[in-house]
């Protein structure tokens, strides 16, 4: 029988512990986790990039729902444990769920500390600990105004930089005289303060907040002890954390500042372990992941009867604010027995200080250039004698033993046991060995197999250099493909930043995202125009000069500069009246060619541009609208005759196709979107090679997607079997909207699906009802602005200039 392992708290430490456990002994335990947060395990370190808009929540999930399912773990979300009954060996959650354990792990992390000054309980006083806090801050940033951050430590500064990036005015109040005084000496603290002020963030040091003032229960100002008052739409308290040990204390376990454990990670109850920030070990509590990961590895081993012990950690700190490089480790206070080496380069904004005792590094502070941080930290941890290289030590590793090395050579020169990833304690030899033994060739793979650079990410560059070094020329860095030569950003970043920074015009995107050309090129402008149309359907003013000619004039240009016109024929159905109208137009304008297309429409080819509005006017009178045969948008819905006529038809495929087409026509999509509905699996409308297809069967409708039959050939994937027509419409529309929001410009559905995963799409559209409905609603909203027939608009005079020459000169005038 498997033993029962229960874990309280689903943070970063137990997540890592379980990975070790499942790798070493997957069959030992039945695991149940209780988490107070309503979600899976995510990388808490990356909340700051989410706040600043550089990443999304999806990007920082460590274990998704599938992971728990695959490993047989029961995860209770939104279930805070309130009682541990040590006699019955049971835990009970506030929601009334109970679970028995053989072994229990307490991993409750820590709680942000709130200074109990008057007003601390007003609406708008926030802390910075989890995703909900980030969402609250983002909501506040939407409303604008000033954010006051109390606390100039790591968290406070990351919050301040993030809120500033979101467009708020920001003031940081710090009690001490320099920022991050626990990690930085005053000189580095000063440089840091200057860097923040250069970004337009006000920093007030020696600021003792005495009261938070409110209006109607909502914060409005912060008052300092000296009487100064500062306006505040929100206040973020980031003054420190306290191990969350109350639950352990209430259960009668030994608790000091945190839950006390021995080197074997056991609490005072041998069947109960503690792990992570809630722990006190040898009198120390930790607030960084590196030591927690070391504990996680030891605990996994203990749980399967191993004998690993945890003996404490030395930690190093980095600040994750884009553009500010800062590294600190060890002890850097001044003292009798200590010497220091300082390097300053004011022009370059560099400051480095090493604190030595007996020719050994005991502390390091680096500002402005931190590349040598891990090397100094390595010397510090190993307590190596540096007497021989003392003269050049501060210049870094590249200067040791001869002329400076290039970065590659410096990495090559690192000893095998040099630590590359501080967060996860991964050394050089482990990375190199994984690359060679497992045949890894990309940063993501190294991340997956070794965890190096998987947490705060600051060592990604080093890992890439190791890849380059190990693989030589065969290594091609998987840098994001830039959208075009005007930017280094890829499509995904651009789309995310458009949303995060609420950019609503092409010039705004180019300015804010630092485009390298003055007005873009023929690659980025149409892409940006689509992204803006798709993201801000009600607010964005479509820029026709950034559309390709076909979309600008609503017809397809031909090789001789004439145009073709394809009116919409809903579901491929037509009538004698429509055919007669087409015949009349062909005669009247002497249109040279008429063709039945592959998409069940009629194409009139060879029309002069000047004639287009008149052609459309006549077609419009007969009830035709544009067929969008030119659009990166919804093209055609092909149908077959279905139950109306066919002896095999199982459903009204023609009616359903027409219904879908009438619902989605006019919508712009990343690339063209073609659909089909077939009345039975004989599939006469070829639905199984379309972007989206439906195959009707007796029991309902099979929805297909991600087929291709152009440059590539690929059969569709099945989304699922749906019972009613109404639901089919909802699913298809939601799928179209998901693709509209996520696709790269010019990326067909099958390529998008390959990139993000068919399973992910199925999960979001088929299984997650709330999401599906939200996608559906957003599509319906955007259709309000899209379902306008572009032909009739132009017949009534819009864009007249497009269809007429500006002047006709008679040359005789010049004679």
């Amino acid at each position: 029988m498997k033993q029962k392992l229960v874990i309280i708290g689903n943070g970063m430490a137990p997540g890592r512990m379980l990975e070790h456990l499942f790798e070493r002994a997957p069959e030992t335990y039945d695991v149940t986790i209780f988490n107070a947060e309503p979600r899976v395990n995510y990388n808490r370190l990356m909340l700051s990039p989410v706040l600043s808009g550089e990443k999304s929540y999806q990007d920082i999930v460590t274990h998704d729902d599938d992971w728990y399912a695959a490993n047989g773990v029961t995860l209770h979300k939104s279930a805070r444990i309130e009682t541990i009954d040590r006699t019955a060996k049971t835990v009970i959650s506030a929601t009334g769920i109970s679970a028995d354990y053989d072994k229990l792990v307490i991993a409750t992390g820590s709680n942000p500390f709130i200074i109990p000054i008057p007003g601390h309980d007003l609406e708008g006083v926030l802390v910075y600990r989890d995703l909900d806090d980030v969402e609250r801050m983002l909501a506040a940033a939407d409303a604008g105004g000033r954010a006051v951050v109390i606390g100039g430590g790591l968290l406070g500064l990351e919050a301040a930089a993030g809120l500033k990036a979101q467009g708020m005015e920001v003031t940081v109040l710090h009690l001490m005289s320099t920022l991050m005084e626990r990690q930085l000496d005053p000189a580095a603290g000063y440089l840091l303060e200057k860097a923040f002020e250069e970004r337009g963030i006000d920093v007030v040091t020696q600021a003792n907040s005495s009261e938070i003032l409110g209006r109607d229960g909502q914060v409005s100002r912060v008052r300092l002890e000296d009487g100064t008052e500062i306006d505040a739409a929100i206040v973020v308290m980031a003054i420190g954390i306290r191990p969350s040990a109350k639950l352990a204390e209430d259960s009668g376990l030994e608790v000091g500042r945190g839950v006390v454990v021995g080197d074997d990670m056991r609490t005072s109850d041998p069947d109960i372990f503690a792990l992570g920030e809630c722990v006190e070990h040898r009198g120390q509590c930790y607030g960084l992941v590196a030591p927690l990961y070391e504990m996680a590895s030891v605990l996994a081993d203990q749980l399967i009867g191993g004998e690993s012990l945890y003996r404490g950690s030395v930690t190093a700190t980095k600040l994750k604010v884009t553009g500010i490089d800062l590294y600190s480790a060890g002890d850097f206070a001044e003292g009798e027995d200590r010497e220091e080496i300082v390097l300053r380069d004011a022009a370059a904004g560099i400051y480095k200080r090493l604190v030595l005792r007996d020719n050994r590094i005991i502390g390091a502070v680096l500002y402005g250039e931190t590349g040598d941080g891990p090397w100094f930290f390595d010397l510090l941890k190993k307590q190596l004698d540096i007497a021989e290289m003392r003269e050049t030590l501060v210049f870094g590793q590249a200067y040791q033993g001869g002329p400076p090395l290039d970065p590659m050579a410096a990495v090559a020169a690192l000893p095998d046991d040099a630590e590359i990833c501080g967060c996860n304690g991964v050394c050089k030899s482990k990375i190199v060995k994984s690359i060679t033994d497992l045949g890894l060739s990309a940063l993501d793979e190294v991340r997956a197999h070794t965890k190096a650079s998987a947490s705060c990410g600051t060592c990604s560059g080093l890992v890439e250099q190791l890849l380059g070094l190990t693989l030589g020329d065969s290594y091609t860095p998987a840098a994001v493909q830039p959208l075009c030569a005007c930017t280094d950003l890829g499509h995904d970043e651009v789309r995310r930043l458009i949303k995060a920074k609420a950019l609503k015009s092409i010039p705004a995107v180019m300015q804010e995202l630092e485009w390298k050309s003055s007005c873009g090129c023929a690659k980025c402008r149409p892409a940006l125009n689509y992204y803006l149309v798709s993201d801000w359907p009600d607010e964005y003013a479509d820029d026709y000069q950034s559309r390709f000619i076909n979309e600008r004039v609503h017809a397809n240009i031909q090789k001789d500069g004439t145009y073709s016109v394809v009116p919409r024929m809903w579901g491929g159905m037509t009538s004698s009246r429509e055919l007669r109208a087409i015949a009349d137009v062909v005669d009247k304008f002497a249109i040279p060619a008429v063709k039945v297309t592959g998409g069940q429409r009629i194409d009139m080819l060879g029309i002069e541009k000047e004639d287009l509005p008149a052609v459309w006017a006549d077609l419009g009178k007969a009830g035709f609208v544009s067929g969008h045969a030119y659009a990166k948008g919804v093209r055609t819905v092909k149908t077959c005759v279905g139950t109306d006529w066919c002896r095999f038809g199982t459903q009204d495929s023609t009616g359903l196709g027409i219904r879908i087409e009438k619902f989605v026509w006019g919508s712009w999509t990343p690339a063209k979107l073609k659909m089909a509905v077939s009345g039975c699996p004989r599939n006469c409308s070829e639905a199984t090679c379309k972007d989206i297809g439906v195959i009707c069967v007796d029991s309902g409708f099979e929805i297909h997607f991600a087929g291709a039959a152009g440059l590539d050939i690929k059969g569709t994937e099945v989304l699922g079997l749906i019972k009613t027509e109404d639901e089919v419409l909802e699913h298809i529309v939601a799928l179209v909207q998901m693709y509209r929001e996520q696709g790269h410009y010019l990326e067909r559905i099958y390529k998008w699906a390959a990139r993000i995963g068919v399973e992910e799409i199925r999960q979001q559209i088929l299984e997650d009802t709330d999401r599906r409905e939200a996608y559906f609603d957003r599509f319906v909203f955007s259709q309000k602005f899209a379902q306008v027939d572009p032909w009739s608009e132009r017949v009534s005079g819009l864009d007249k200039h497009e269809f007429k020459p500006m002047a006709t000169l008679s040359l005789e005038a010049a004679e």
């Binding site: 390709f548 090789k559 500069g561 200039h801 500006m806 006709t808 000169l809 008679s810 040359l811």
Partner: protein, 115 residues
Amino acid sequence: MNAAFDGWVKVGKLGDVPRRGARCIKSGDVTIAIFRTADDRVFALEDRCPHKNGPLSQGIVHDGCVTCPLHNWVISLESGEAQGADSGRSATFKVKRTGDDILLDLRDVHRAGRR
């Protein structure tokens, strides 16, 4: 005709041409595309791509260039030269702005017409 006629004729107003866009002028068999850039400079090219005669006036205008609508060659508005790896040249015409008016040098157009 006025004796002082110097060849320049008014062909339209700046506002007739969309920013980062073009309008055409027909003169016999020749079509001339008048381009207006984002910073309101104007250029005139024959509306024929050196590749396969694509109508350049229908392309996307960016910086000092236009991307042909048929196969994406990029043509300099100033010189008419194809950019990058492609080679070829479209005819250019003298064009200038006086206040809001766009003027074209007809003597230039005439030469093209006789070509």
